[in-house]
């Protein structure tokens, strides 16, 4: 009876001796690349793809990677500041409404009648 290792050895020998006759056209590789390029040209260039490509390329360039990090930090910081300003403006408006309602008996009567 043959063991597992002996089976593997004979299979390996068989595979090494097997040489399939396949005719590969001489321009096979060139055709493959041409098809890949054609497919890439067909797909639309979108802004996010440009950014993604730029960022991916940036991984291999320390200067570009740093530029990406700085740009993202600046944009995120700016967005945070703008959001803080908006929430401040909303709060001030709310406070103004509350103050005017606090001196307006009609607004208070309306509020009281709305309450269940």
């Amino acid at each position: 009876m043959q063991t597992g290792n002996e089976n593997d050895d004979s299979l390996n020998k068989l595979l090494r001796s097997w040489q399939p006759q396949v005719d590969i056209p001489s321009d096979f590789q060139r055709n493959v690349w041409q098809r890949i390029e054609a497919r890439e040209e067909e797909s639309p260039v979108t802004w996010w793809r440009i950014i993604a490509d730029w960022m991916t390329q940036g991984l291999s360039h320390p200067v570009r990677a740093t530029a990406v990090l700085v740009a993202v930090s600046l944009v995120a910081g700016g967005m945070g500041a703008v959001q803080a300003r908006d929430s401040a403006a909303a709060l001030e408006l709310r406070m103004e409404s509350r103050y005017t309602a606090s001196i307006n008996p009609y607004a208070q009567a309306d509020a009281r009648q709305v309450q269940p």
Partner: protein
């Protein structure tokens, strides 16, 4: 640098930058130091804190404004009660009576009287608070406050005036 690490670093840095920007915007840029007071204050105090911040009142001005506000608040609550009662009475009458008789007329007249009294009380309060401020603050305060007066609410007042001979009893929210 691996792509995953780079993206993670990007996210962490972006979040940290956003938080810094937000806290800068809150603390330094637009809200200055009074916002924590506004958040901390409860009830009427928050509105008055807004007034102090908006018109940059001194402590002395603020104390006087607070006293005037407290005095007016009692009157305001009484007026509010009268408005609610008057509305209720008018609604009941209108639901009960198909015609506009003397009783309905009287209720509408009472409602108009309350409306007039409330306008005058608000105007007097606004002017007396304005007098506490310096001329520039006073002008800005009066302009800002008087535009909120029910008398300048244009929506349904014209219709109500035509029908009842008096202004809408519902003021800012007819």
């Amino acid at each position: 640098m691996k792509r995953g690490v780079f993206i993670l670093l990007l996210l962490v840095l972006g979040a940290a930058a956003w938080a810094c920007g937000y806290s800068w915007g809150h603390g330094v840029g637009w809200l200055r130091s009074s916002v924590p007071d506004m958040h901390a204050a409860h009830g009427g105090a928050a509105e008055l804190e807004w007034l102090r911040h908006e018109f940059r009142l001194t402590q002395e001005q603020f104390d006087t404004v607070r006293r005037l506000h407290a005095e007016y608040e009692t009157k305001c609550v009484t007026m509010c009660d009268r408005i609610v009662q008057s509305r209720r009475k008018l609604k009941e009458l209108l639901a009960r009576k198909p015609e506009v008789d003397a009783e309905v007329e009287q209720a509408v007249r009472e409602s108009s009287d309350i409306w007039r009294e409330c306008q005058l009380a608000m105007l007097r309060h606004i002017r007396s608070v304005g007098r506490v401020m310096n001329p520039e603050q006073e002008k800005r305060y009066i302009t800002l406050m008087e535009k909120h007066l029910p008398i300048f609410s244009t929506s349904d007042n014209a219709t109500m005036m035509k029908e009842t001979g008096g202004p809408s009893p519902s003021g800012m929210h007819p």
